[in-house]
């Protein structure tokens, strides 16, 4: 219900684009075509020239390559690279064929640039209208120097956000849109579509949802395991970390900081190092099996199948995740635990509750209430937890040779295998989108309804 609140404009201003169209003078209207003209005519020459230069640069780019990129986008190119015999040099030469990847990339980039340009255009129109209104009313029109100065004060967010936003759009949003587009093409090693490919609509989604095919059945099994993994990984860590924090924080526990140090020590080692160490220790001839053999608990030649039996492997990754994650949980929850009002405990003790009851009736509900956002973030993080699976088991063991995923593969590691190893870029992109949808549906609703989102302003 909170999702569809009526939009309220918190920042009313008389200088909008529609007002400029309706009430602007001829110079304002003209500056919709020749950007910056209005500003130049109203004492803001420097600002106007910058606007004009932006427009000229954009148009130059569009004429030079932009329109070509856009025109190629629907077909994604069709000219194959060919060998041509060069008589003069007596060698084969390769003609420049079309490269669909680059066509798609440049096309998406051009569209993004055009959207950006439209946004700038809106800004300039508003700016021209504002300059016109102020100038006609005889009010003070900001000089260029004053405009620059405002960047340090009322417009400081522009100054501070722009660099970060440039990076985000260039290195996160653009690639993401590009990958999403890929899901609707046949860019894949299958059928040799690595250089030239076409739009195929929703075919990839259909193939993935078709549970009779290998791809489809793999998808469902990987999806189920991903959810199971995320659930166990999140809650085992949470509960275990909390119990540990409670036990260490107990009044009667001696050397609290020593115990904490022991657990936090493993936090200080980079996780990829400790994961690689764990992997080698759990190999058939690794340290753990050697230790067990020396102790005589298992036969001299036998080994526990940590990563070779599907069920063992699944349990192993979850257990190791406890090892990796609990210190972090311990660190984070210790502070929150100390904030639980002490009188709650006293009241419970007076009523004769034992430790287990206190934990389930007071500690756990309180913690769940306070740390819901943290739990959602952890759950999301675990669904996308690439490192632990890739470094520990690599998705092994592979039980079904025909499928492309092993039994501990998560959606993300499967995505990695499909794109990097197999070069099925389109299927990889589809999996990425589906992962996103699954997470979005769950997380967005919970976030929106969580207390800390609603009370965001109420700090």
């Amino acid at each position: 219900m909170g999702l569809f609140k009526k939009k309220v404009n918190d920042f009313p201003t008389p200088y909008t684009v529609s007002a400029a169209i309706k009430e602007g003078g001829f110079e304002t209207k003209l500056s919709m075509i020749i950007m910056g003209l209005g500003n130049i005519m109203h004492k803001q020459a420097a600002k106007g020239i910058i606007f004009l230069a932006t427009e000229v640069l954009y148009l130059l780019f569009m004429v030079k390559s932009g329109f070509h990129c856009l025109a190629m986008l629907p077909s994604l190119g069709s000219i194959e690279q060919e060998e041509v015999w060069n008589e003069a040099l007596q060698i084969y030469e390769y003609t420049q064929g079309d490269n669909s990847v680059l066509i798609l990339l440049y096309g998406v980039a051009t569209i993004l640039l055009t959207v950006l340009m439209f946004w700038i255009w809106r800004g300039t129109t508003k700016s021209a209208y504002k300059a016109e209104c102020l100038d006609k009313a005889g009010k003070h029109v900001n000089t260029f120097k004053e405009d620059l100065k405002s960047l340090l004060h009322e417009n400081v967010h522009r100054l501070l956000m722009t660099p970060a936003l440039t990076f985000i759009f260039g290195l996160t949003v653009l690639p993401l849109i590009f990958m999403i587009c890929m899901a609707f093409t046949n860019y894949s090693k299958i059928g040799n579509h690595l250089v030239l490919f076409d739009w195929v609509g929703l075919d990839n989604f259909k193939a993935l949802f078709d549970s009779s095919s290998i791809l489809g059945s793999t998808f469902w099994s990987v999806l189920v395991w991903t959810l199971v993994w995320a659930f166990f990984a999140t809650f085992t860590n949470y509960i275990f970390g909390m119990i540990l924090a409670i036990v260490i924080n107990r009044k009667d526990t001696k050397c609290k900081s020593f115990w904490r140090f022991c657990f936090v020590l493993s936090c200080a080692v980079p996780s990829f190092v400790s994961l690689l160490i764990m992997r080698t220790m759990l190999q058939p001839n690794g340290a753990v099996n050697v230790l067990l053999r020396n102790l005589g608990w298992i036969g001299a030649d036998s080994a526990l199948p940590f990563f070779t039996d599907p069920l063992w492997a699944k349990v192993t990754v979850i257990v190791i995740n406890i090892w990796v994650g609990v210190p972090y949980t311990l660190l984070q929850l210790t502070g929150v635990l100390q904030n639980i009002p002490g009188d709650l405990y006293e009241a419970a003790r007076v009523d004769g509750a034992n430790a287990v009851q206190i934990f389930f009736k007071i500690t756990l509900p309180y913690m769940l209430f306070v740390t819901t956002p943290y739990l959602i973030a952890t759950f999301t993080g675990n669904v996308n937890n690439f490192n632990i699976i890739y470094l520990l088991s690599g998705g092994d063991p592979v039980t079904d040779l025909a499928s492309t995923a092993g039994s501990t593969d998560l959606l993300v590691t499967w995505l990695y295998k499909l794109t990097i190893d197999k070069q099925y870029y389109n299927v990889g992109a589809v999996i990425g989108i589906l992962t996103f949808i699954i997470l979005a549906v769950g997380a967005l609703l919970t976030y929106r309804n969580s207390k800390s989102y609603k009370d965001e302003e109420g700090f």
């Binding site: 990339l105 936003l165 590009f178 990958m179 493993s266 190092v273 090892w323 690439f386």
Partner: protein, 291 residues
């Protein structure tokens, strides 16, 4: 009547305490064991990854020496240099981005604020490296995928999404009383001055936390580094180097060196971490967990 009961209460308490301490000791051993083992392995004299004894037969420093002198196959010193350079640059960039964005979102009210926060949340739900292949193509199109520019490419990668990780720092800025800002505004400070002279000096824990996480990033990531470096071994980072040492063709000769390398890069990070643990926890609990 009262005395025996008191004694039995005392006894149960003592038994409980003993059990708790024994369990804690066992758990502590489990947690420290792998770390102890890798430190032992880094001093192990006998080569190879498969050993029949748990404790090393002989101790030596040769593994550390080899790591820094044998540069023919895996050039560890160079990787170390690469990673240090990339880490410092991307740390500066990302810290600036995170702090600037968090300050704006926490202190200023502008039109783009809510949409930006929603956008960050949505982007955070995509698998992080789903766009990795595309990032590679973009960097290639910009001509950054060959030679020394690979370092720049990696710096861009690591700091690219930094502006999206503002939640913790924003949560911290939210706790600084608004009254301070208002007082400064009345005294004629500009917003920029407030950011620079008031907010930043008050936020030492969160700055430390941001610097720390940004600095550690390049040391522990190897997916991006691997995809972007491809076969350019000259620009490998430490993480790829260590990972390669465990590949089939190297593991027999390099296994103990891997342990040595792991110890070496863990030590500075561990020291930083221990030293800054308080800040780390402060940052986490004030930012991430908000009731």
């Amino acid at each position: 009547m009262a005395a025996p009961k008191q004694r039995s209460v005392k006894r149960t308490k003592m038994i409980n305490n003993t059990i708790v301490h024994v369990v804690l000791a066992i758990l502590a051993v489990i947690w420290v064991f792998p770390i102890a083992w890798v430190v032992l392995t880094s001093f192990r004299a006998e080569k190879g990854s498969y050993v029949s004894t748990f404790l090393p037969q002989g101790y030596t420093l040769a593994n550390y020496v080899k790591l820094f002198t044998d540069t023919t196959i895996l050039n560890f010193p160079k990787m170390f240099g690469n990673t240090l350079f990339i880490a410092i640059c991307s740390c500066i960039l990302s810290t600036f981005y995170v702090l600037a964005v968090s300050y704006c979102l926490s202190r200023l009210r502008f039109k783009f604020r809510k949409p930006y926060m929603n956008m960050a949340m949505v982007l955070g739900l995509f698998p992080g490296f789903m766009s990795m292949v595309a990032v590679y193509f973009i960097l290639k199109a910009l001509g950054l995928s060959e030679g020394g520019l690979i370092r720049l490419a990696l710096i861009l990668c690591y700091s690219g999404g930094a502006g999206l990780g503002f939640q913790i720092a924003k949560g911290f800025f939210d706790t600084i009383p608004l009254a301070i800002d208002e007082a400064a505004l009345i005294d004629g400070c500009t917003r920029w001055q407030i950011f620079q002279k008031i907010t930043l000096p008050l936020s030492k824990p969160i700055i430390v936390y941001t610097v720390l996480t940004a600095f550690i990033g390049p040391w522990v990531d190897f997916i991006f580094a691997k995809v972007i470096c491809r076969a350019n071994a000259d620009y490998y980072t430490v993480a790829i180097g260590l990972w390669r040492m465990l590949e089939k063709e190297y593991i027999d000769n390099w296994y103990t060196c891997f342990a040595a390398g792991a110890v070496l890069i863990s030590i500075p990070i561990a020291i930083l971490f221990m030293f800054l643990q308080r800040y780390y926890v402060d940052g986490m609990s004030s930012g991430a967990v908000k009731g």
